[in-house]
């Protein structure tokens, strides 16, 4: 069992309509694929975030299906076009069913 996820979202809080807004997110997570062996040569149990989603006012902007090749403490940088003010919801989905969410507002002028 991993510790609770701590996640960080870095993005501007304001933007001009039509601008590309770059968003960087990182979550603390071991991302154990189940293929790795520990010092005693035992397989380390699988423990993964398998999905990351981004919504803006209920509209799905990004949906990442995460495989074993993504590094621990997964980092993603992406961009959206600022259309109107609203709220982002970022969600990290763990294979054990837990979902960690963060929200952030963007004011568009």
């Amino acid at each position: 069992m991993s510790r609770p996820i701590r996640a960080r979202v870095r993005m501007p809080s304001t933007a001009t309509r039509g601008d590309e807004v770059t968003i960087r997110v990182m979550a603390t997570h071991p991302m154990e694929s189940g293929n790795r062996r520990d010092m005693a040569d035992n397989l380390v149990p699988r423990d993964m975030i398998h999905r990351f989603t981004v919504d803006f006012d209920g509209e799905r902007l990004l949906d990442i299906d995460i495989g074993a090749g993504v590094s621990s403490n997964p980092f993603f940088e992406f961009a959206v076009v600022a259309a109107h003010s609203g709220a982002f919801t970022f969600a990290w989905h763990e294979e054990n069913g837990a979902i960690h969410t963060e929200t952030a507002r963007l004011s568009v002028s």
């Binding site: 694929s33 293929n35 990004l62 990442i64 495989g67 993504v70 590094s71 959206v80």
Partner: protein, 138 residues
């Protein structure tokens, strides 16, 4: 250097052999994960961009950036990893079709990125990277 008849024959042979290689379909079968993403369709070469370093000191943490104009989804595959599919991303209409992340690789290999375009069809790009083989977590 003097070019002898023998040299030119060698050159012609090498050229002949090289021209046989890039025929897609039978010469380079689709990776199963790519075939799963495209439904068996062979992607066009180019038309998208992947930024990956040529070498990395840290195989657990390698930055990779993907950009594909007009893409609605991207697939990233590391065929040399025990679990080759790195990720699949779908972009909503309000998202810019690009993604940067950090990946882990089990050894030197050629990483493949494929994009599904909104207008239909697929494009792909590959990049080779040299990393130390080691205890891979992927």
């Amino acid at each position: 250097m003097r070019l002898t008849r023998r040299d030119s024959m060698r050159g012609a042979l090498a050229l002949g052999a090289a021209s046989l290689v890039p025929l897609p379909g039978w010469a380079s079968p689709l990776h199963p994960d790519v075939a799963g993403f495209t439904g068996g369709e062979i992607p066009r070469e180019g038309g998208m961009e992947m930024v990956l370093p040529a070498t990395s000191e840290d195989p657990q943490n390698i930055a990779v950036s993907l950009v594909a104009e007009g893409a609605e989804a991207l697939l990233l595959v590391a065929p040399g990893n025990p679990g080759p599919r790195v990720l699949t991303v779908r972009f909503g209409p309000g998202a810019v079709p690009r993604l940067t992340t950090r990946i882990r690789l089990a050894g030197p290999q050629t990483v493949i990125a494929v994009a599904r375009l909104r207008e239909g069809g697929f494009v792909q790009v590959a990049a080779s990277i040299d990393v130390d083989e080691g205890a891979c977590a992927a």
